[in-house]
Symmetry: none
Subunit: 234 residues, 2 copies
DNA sequence: AAACGATTGACGTGCCGCTGACAACTGGTT
DNA sequence: AACCAGTTGTCAGCGGCACGTCAATCGTTT
């Protein structure tokens, strides 16, 4: 069975275009031009991903999203927005796993976003299912607690900041692999981030202080010159 | 649907000229004279190829490239450069799949570059799909891991630098074939590389240290006098 | 205001890749 | 066989740039 996609967009021409596009890419598409039926379709079919126009009759995109999120906050939602004001609202939602595309947009851009969201959601699902997400995981000689935001080694326990925790998560998910600086920036900071590369270094420095026995000669968080970093499990 | 091209060039006349040229060739063109809108347009449309002037208001070409590469390192980027200094910077980026054209340039030359880049990108895409690119491949008595940037033999594991990894890739793709020095320089260092031939030797030396049991009497990386090198699989 | 995390700039350091000098080698010529 | 010109191997050193580090700054929260 193909992955199913719910498309709620009230412009008939655009909706048909999107339907054709995604069907050509091998998706099953549930099209609708109305917020209320969008909700009904979602309840009935539970699509893997939802594309929501913000401006729609009956229920607008935000309202639909709100309803869906009451029952399910896994399924990724991609908003189609026209005005800058709407964008702010979408961003303001800060709902994990969601994204938006501003009109007008190109088909390639939409495809790329949909696929990125799918990958992200798939990773999240896999991670959640596989180990039921225990609170703690080990890193090097230390043990990290997600809930408590802290890392313990031997007889000391140090707090972890948000960025540090996220970084550790990324390394834990790919032990032994070299992870490029760009990828780290994307995974930890998000896709549209303008910061310098010094920022990443700095956080690595802080992490090494908490993870390594001798921060000057790291054993677990290794740098790969010109590429990125690598976590060498013990 | 036509292939879409993003053209970022702050000289109005030149930009219009390029737009006409490529539209006549059957491309859809997204023109802009500004780095920031270039990024926005890229996000909205995901063009198949990007032509970037280096000198631009708001964000220069390098900065735009850097941002784009954080989310996507497939799409080819063609830089338009005016000064020799800029050229060095472009070459210095070492970003695969990119190219540059120096001003002033002829329209035909530009077209040729664009089409060459398209072909290269298409090949890369096809290749990536075809074999799902396993992480490891064997070389001689060793096993090379791309993700880890390292090579393991018997009981030792040694890190590989960028150049070494690329060289090994080239040899792996053509086992038994003699590969000329020029071809190696092209494939690993890029089309226009000015270095001496000593550079290549040097890297071969380093590689043999990591690949051969007795580096003085190589078994896998053989030199073919007057031509180049040959990888003799075990 | 104080505390904290995140970010950035400035500066020092180390590594990778490049190069020049010279030795060793190869293949061809006498 | 000896020789020679061109090519390759090896070593040591250099330079640029990526990275490590420290400290100052900014923004947010309390």
């Amino acid at each position: 069975m193909n992955p199913t996609l719910l498309i709620a967009e009230d412009d008939d021409a655009l909706r048909d275009g999107l339907k054709d596009l995604f069907e050509a890419e091998g998706y099953d598409v549930l099209p609708t031009g109305n917020g209320r039926t969008a909700l009904e379709l979602w309840r009935q079919y539970r699509p893997l991903l939802i594309v929501l126009d913000v401006m729609m009759p009956e229920l607008n995109g935000f309202e639909v999203c709100q309803q869906i999120r009451r029952e399910d906050n896994q399924t990724p939602i991609l908003f189609l927005t026209a005005k800058a004001q709407e964008i702010d609202q979408v961003v303001g939602l800060k709902l994990g796993g969601d994204d938006y595309v501003t009109k007008p947009f190109g088909m390639q851009a939409l495809l790329a976003r949909v696929e990125a969201l799918q990958r992200r959601a798939a990773r999240a699902r896999a991670g959640a299912d596989a180990d039921a997400m225990p609170d703690e995981f080990s890193f090097g000689k230390s043990v990290v607690s997600r809930k408590r935001h802290q890392i313990s080694r031997a007889d000391t326990t140090v707090p972890l900041t948000l960025r540090e925790l996220k970084l550790l998560e990324v390394f834990r998910e790919h032990p032994g692999e070299v992870i490029s600086r760009n990828r780290l920036l994307n995974e930890v900071w998000g896709i549209d981030y303008y910061g310098t590369t010094r920022t990443l270094d700095q956080h690595i420095v802080q992490l090494r202080k908490k993870v390594e026995t001798d921060p000057r000669h790291p054993v677990y968080l290794l740098t790969v010159h010109g590429v990125g970093y690598r976590y060498a499990p013990p």
